[in-house]
Every structure is written in structure tokens, then in C-alpha cells.
């Protein structure tokens, strides 16, 4: 499973495109928002938590269909399915690789973009913590969506239709965490809920995703 993870990471790094693309997208979304709503810093700092979270969500969505599609096309997914490693483990590792290549850079880049959007300094730490807690859930849910749509010719649009409603709870608690952090309120509740969602999705969704993959490989 470690080998699988390092293989996916190596593929992502060396193939190019996938690795930095999500990050660049995140940057562009964040830069575009002030053009849309105007440069008043009070407004920006008010909506910054939501914008950053929605941006992270969309950037994550962008690379989801790559989780299984390439392996499905060249047949290595069939090999992985018949390998001694359980398919659930393969799914979990795929999701982990996706998180390291898209989620983690977003977490690290978020404070810089927070400065651009005039996010309150007190909320910076909560933003990083929230994204760090929440983005693994985004990758895991996304891997489930990708497993559902892997056999389809034009699955990309359908994938976003399936996955985005599933992102709602994560988005709510994530944005709430940052907003509360900015206002100096109690942050333990949304943080705990966010962590709970991530842990629960990581524990349960690999089984659902593996079931979907088995159907698609049948």
C-alpha cells in the first residue's frame, strides 16, 4: 500500500499538470473574487472564509476524475483489483495520494490567499487547521464519486453533480470554523464536527467506493 501511494505520488509529480493545476486554479478563483465584489477590504474579510473554502472545494473537484480514470484506461486498475491488497485499501491510498497532491498544497497556500482577501489574522490558524481537517474528507468523498463514474465517457460533469451535494456538510463546518475564529468565538464545535466528518468518511467510504469500482470493473 505504501508502494501504491508512492507510485501515485511519483506519477502525479512527473506527469506534470495535475500537481500545480489545482493550486493555480485556487489562486485564480481567489484573485477573481475581488474583481467581482469590489475591493473594499471590509467586505472581503467578511466573505473570505467562504470564498477560500469554496475555492478549495472547486480546486479539489478539478482533479477528481484523474483519481481512477488513467488507471482504468490503461488497465492497471484491473491489476490492482486482482492484487492481494484489498480494493478498499487501494481506494484509501488513491484518496490519500489525491489529498497530498491537491489538498495539502491548498492548506499550505491558504494563508497567503487569506492575506490577499484581508482575512482577520486571528482566523489564519483556524483556516489552516480547518482546511487540514476538512480536505481529506473532500478527497475521500471525491474518490467515491470518481469510483462511481469511472466507466463513463463524459463523467466529469456528472461527477461534480454527484459530489458537490456531498460536500455541503464539510463546507458548512469548515467555513463556520474560520468565521468563528475571525470573530473570536468558540471554535471547538465546528472543529470537532469537521474532524468527525473526515474520520467517518475515511472509515466508511472506501467500502462504498470499492463496491462501486467492482461493479465498474465487472
Amino acid at each position: 500500500m505504501i508502494a501504491l501511494l508512492s507510485r501515485d505520488l511519483a506519477l502525479a509529480v512527473r506527469a506534470g499538470g495535475g500537481f500545480g493545476l489545482g493550486l493555480a486554479f485556487f489562486l485564480i478563483v481567489t484573485v477573481l473574487v475581488p474583481f467581482g465584489v469590489g475591493p473594499e477590504s471590509a467586505t472581503l474579510s467578511r466573505i473570505a472564509p467562504g470564498i477560500l473554502w469554496v475555492g478549495a472545494l472547486l480546486a479539489c473537484l478539478l482533479s477528481l476524475d484523474r483519481i481512477f480514470a488513467l488507471d482504468y484506461e490503461d488497465g492497471s486498475l484491473d491489476l490492482l483489483a486482482t492484487a492481494p491488497v484489498p480494493l478498499e485499501g487501494v481506494v484509501a491510498m488513491k484518496a490519500a495520494a489525491h489529498w497530498v497532491t491537491t489538498g495539502l498544497p491548498l492548506v499550505l497556500a491558504a494563508p497567503v490567499l487569506g492575506v490577499l482577501l484581508n482575512l482577520a489574522p486571528a482566523a489564519m490558524g483556524w483556516l489552516v487547521l480547518g482546511l487540514g481537517l476538512g480536505t481529506p474528507a473532500l478527497s475521500m468523498i471525491g474518490a467515491f464519486g470518481a469510483a462511481l463514474t469511472v466507466g463513463l465517457k463524459r463523467g466529469g460533469l456528472l461527477l461534480s453533480l454527484l459530489v458537490l451535494p456531498l460536500y455541503v456538510p464539510t463546507l458548512i463546518f469548515g467555513a463556520e470554523l474560520v468565521a468563528r475564529g475571525a470573530a473570536g468565538q468558540v471554535t471547538a464545535t465546528p472543529a470537532a464536527m469537521l474532524a468527525a466528518i473526515t474520520l467517518a468518511t475515511c472509515a466508511l467510504l472506501p467500502f462504498a467506493a470499492a463496491a462501486a469500482l467492482r461493479v465498474n470493473l465487472r
Binding site: 466507466g151 463513463l152 451535494p165 456538510p169 464536527m193
Partner: protein
Amino acid sequence: MASLWQYANPQKFVQTTGAVLPALAVLTALALIAGLVWGFFFTPDDFRQGSTVKIIYLHVPAALMAINAWLMMLVASLIWLVRRHHVSALAARAAAPVGLTMTVIALLTGAIWGQPMWGTWWAWDPRLTSFLILGLFYLGYIALWAAIEDPDAAADLTAVLCMVGSVFAVLSRYAVNFWNQGLHQGASLSMDAEENVADVFYFPLLVCIAGFVLLFVTLVLLRTRTEIRARRIKALLARERMA
């Protein structure tokens, strides 16, 4: 021995529902006409809401069925996954557009009622928002059915989606509760509550709910029969090509 499972046989299902459907349709029409006419013309106006209160006869039953339709899809999906009865998968498929329609009816009637009462068509209230999300789940479910060509794979994948979606729908319901305070009033009818709507409104509402339940059952049976026939035609065409 007679059991529920004998209707897993499509032939048997089509036969039985064919015999039951006309009666069911008549009952549906009777209940809906009786409930709506009673509700619209023979109940007093509310002392504060005026005649807009009468939209309750469409809004509450539709909202109720929107949720129960998803519940029915969940049960049907589980039956499909466990026992591989095709009729069950087709019934889940047949129920989705009906459930989506009910969701839209509930949202629209709510907006029409909310405009004069709350002064707004839409508010980001937990109930409203979670209904919108439920509508999105229906859309995704229907789209997934439509996108996959192999019928068995489509049934399997949508069943998995239905199960995961159910968990997330419930989760979203409580998450939005956390996110925003509500404008929507609490339940206006329940078995144990002390504050239900007055009896004048209550009884026609019950008739309307019965009508909507019957309407849902009728439509789902009808659509399931259509699905079975469509699949049979496809099989016949395939056999013709082979010959």
C-alpha cells in the same frame, strides 16, 4: 406460499399491478379531489394568514412525500443489493422523478406562501436549504441512472449512491441547522405534539396526505410497469438482432 417476494417476478408484478392500478387511480383521484375541494372551499380563512393558509394542502403532503420517496428508494435499493430483484431496482428508478417533482412542488408552494407571509420568496432557512439539497441528490441520482448504459451496473451504482446519499442528506439536514437559524415554523402536525393545526384544517389535510400517498404509489407502480416493458422491448430487439 404467498409472500411479498413473488412480486419480484416481473410477470407476476405486471399482472397484479395491472389489476390493482385502475382502482388505485380512482381512489387517488377521489382522495385528492375530496381533500383539495374540502380544503380550498370549505375551510375558513386563518385569522392572520388569510386565505394563503390553504396552500398547506399542497405544501405539506408534497414535502412529506418528497422525503418518503427517498426512503422508499433507499429500501428498494437495499432489496436490490441484497436479493437482486430487478423489479426492486426499477421501482427505485421509477420513484426518483416522482420524488423530485414532489420536492419542487414543496419548494414552489413554499415560496408562493412565503412571499406574502415572510415577505420573501426564499430564505436560507435550514428546512428550505436541506430541501434544496435533497432536490440536488435526486438530480444526481437520476443523472447517474441516465448516464450508465449497462442496466445492472446502473442499478448497482445508483443503489450505492442512494445509500451514501441518504447518510449525507441526514448529515446536511443537521449541518444546516447548525449553520443558520430558521424562519420556518415547526411541525404543524405530529402524533405527540400539543400544538397542532386546528381540527378544521387538520382533517382535510389528512385526506390530502392520503391522496398524495396514493398518487405516489400509483405513479411509481405505473412507471415501474413502463420500465419493465421498456426493458422487455430492449430484450426482444436484442434477440431479433441475434437471430
